[in-house]
Each structure stands twice: as C-alpha cells, then as structure tokens.
Subunit: 115 residues, 2 copies
C-alpha cells in the first residue's frame, strides 16, 4: 500500500458510519452482509448507506457482489491489514515504542507457521 492508497483508506475510515460499517463487515466474515441488513444495523436511509458503501468500495476497503435482489458487501481483509502495515512500516522506523504496544493488541489466535 502506497501513501495515496493509505490516504484514501484513512479518509474512508475517518467517518463514524463508515468505520462502523467496516467493523460490522469484518465481524460478518467473508460471506458479508446484504446492503439492506447493513442499513438496518446502521439505521441509515438507502441513499445515505449507498453513498458510504460506494465510498468504502472506492477506497478498496469493501467489495460487493450481486446476489438475487440483494447486493452483498464484504470486507477486503488485505486492505485493512495493508493499512495497518503501512502505519507500522512507515511510521515506526527504528522506534519500537510505536509498534511494540500495538503488536499485543491482536486477540486472534496466532497462525501456526507449520504443523
């Protein structure tokens, strides 16, 4: 991820509704959610929701696919991890005090290298 992509992603995430949508979609997993279900969860009108989803998709943070009448949106994991990596890579050069506390924030089970 380069600076321009990072700026797009940061801008997309710096809005309350959009940050919540992304968090919702990440926890929803790869299956994602239909636009209507996201709208219900957000309490947003269809046009407002569409505006934010389009914004997030343009920033590469979510992707969509039509499924019957619905359009399902799902998080793009690589974009999120890419943004975090950008912040760590370009921001903590030689300064472990930036990245070390962040490293322990991940609650996920570590991926075993080889079993």
């Amino acid at each position: 991820m380069d600076e321009m992509q990072a700026l797009d992603a940061l801008g997309a995430l710096s809005q309350e509704t959009r940050l919540r949508i992304v968090r919702l979609l990440v926890t929803a997993g790869p299956a994602g959610m239909a636009a209507g279900a996201i709208g219900d969860a957000m309490g947003a009108t269809s046009s407002r929701l569409s505006f934010h989803l389009t914004h997030l998709e343009a920033a590469g943070l979510v992707q969509s696919r039509r499924e019957g009448r619905s359009i399902r949106y799902s998080a793009v994991y690589e974009a999120l991890s890419g943004l975090i990596a950008f912040l760590m890579r370009d921001c903590c050069q030689g300064h472990p005090e930036v990245c070390t506390p962040a490293l322990s924030a991940c609650a996920c089970p570590p991926v075993e290298p080889a079993e």
Copy 2:
C-alpha cells in the same frame, strides 16, 4: 483508545500534509522538530502549517513545547500505537487474516521480554 479518539486520529491522518508531518516527527524521535523546520520540510506557509499542527495536536497525535523562540513538536507514540491497536483489536475479532499480515510489517527489532 475509544471510537471517538480513533475517528479523530483517522481524520487527522487522512490529510496528505498531516500524514507527512506525523511520519517526519516519528522519524525525528522524541526530540521532535521546531515548527519552522517542519514547515521547510513540507514547503508550507506558517499559517497553513500552524493549522495542521494544531489539528494534529487536538487529535493527540503530536505534542508541543516552547523552546526559546521556537516551538518544538514531537510525535505522541502512545497515540499512534493506540490507533494501530484500535484497528487490530476492534477490526480483526476472530479474523487472523486481518492482523497476521500486519504483524510482520514491523521492521523494528523485537523488544526482548527479559534478558
């Protein structure tokens, strides 16, 4: 870091000049840089620079102290690591595909737990 602080930090970083200032200050280390030196590096007028520095300070990403005629700005490491931790903690719940690639982005030497 809660959602509101994260939104402030994301908004502050989603602007080209401000993102560059933060990166500059992180690499400058705890000593920071005088406003004038930052302005020279950014090619920004004093009022424009002051606007962005004030914005960054309000978001908690940088701090300032007067030193003679100059005002030195330095990065607030906890805020940066807090933001990264927020993105990992609240975004990758149970989805290691978000955080695992990010974990390897840190180029800093790992801090030894005990020696």
